[in-house]
């Protein structure tokens, strides 16, 4: 366990699954890059003040020994990676499933 534990956790649970989805469906997903941009902006704008409040009112606490200790707007850098990587994963899955459900498969 070290300062990269949180980043490693994010890689295993959000970044790696996203990369797997993109490895197989990148042709379908790349056309929606603007959709991803809007979703990233929405999630960061929505989650930052909420997470800031929760962290600073001691609802939860991040260990300085398990994070890289780079802070931005009062939150560890990993939190922004969390917002973006999970948004990336679930938006990718939603678009792949939508294509399968509405269009009946690959475009």
């Amino acid at each position: 366990m070290n300062h990269y534990t949180y980043l490693g956790w994010l890689f295993a649970l959000a970044i790696l699954p996203s990369l797997l989805v993109w490895a197989f469906k990148w042709r379908q997903l790349i056309v929606y890059r603007k959709v991803f941009l809007y979703c990233f902006m929405g999630s960061v704008l929505f989650a930052t003040p909420w997470d800031y409040w929760a962290t600073h009112s001691w609802l939860w606490h991040f260990s300085p020994d398990r994070t890289v200790n780079v802070h931005f707007l009062g939150l560890p850098l990993e939190e922004y990676v969390f917002f973006i990587s999970y948004t990336f994963l679930y938006a990718s899955l939603a678009l792949v499933l939508r294509n399968r459900y509405i269009n009946g498969g690959d475009k």
Binding site: Y32, V35, W50, L59, Y86, R98
Partner: protein, 105 residues
């Protein structure tokens, strides 16, 4: 307050869902099976909080939680992990639908 964690998850996410669903109800209702799949995957992914808590990446102020743990993960986390993928998926489907409609014009 024991409900702090629950309310701090539930209220913002439900508000976000209401905003996202406001103008896209027929489309998102049609895509409900997709959203349920995403929510279920989110609940499965929530189990990943167990090692995160075990390794001390983050910790909760337990008096502010309901104190109910399932497989080492707080009950509130499962609710959050069910609703957030639904919100993200709804937004992505809505934006993608708009983009497709513009392209067809």
């Amino acid at each position: 307050m024991r409900l702090t964690y629950f309310l701090s998850n539930f209220i913002p996410v439900v508000l976000a869902l209401m905003v996202i669903w406001r103008n896209g109800l027929p489309l998102l209702r049609k895509c409900l099976p997709i959203l349920i799949i995403l929510g279920t995957l989110g609940v499965v992914n929530a189990l990943g909080e167990n090692p995160a808590l075990h390794w001390g990446i983050w910790s909760y102020n337990e008096p502010k939680t309901l104190g109910i743990k399932v497989f080492g993960v707080f009950l509130e986390t499962y609710i959050y992990c069910f609703l957030v993928p639904i919100a993200i998926g709804s937004a992505a489907i809505k934006f993608a639908d708009r983009q497709d409609a513009k392209r067809k014009k």
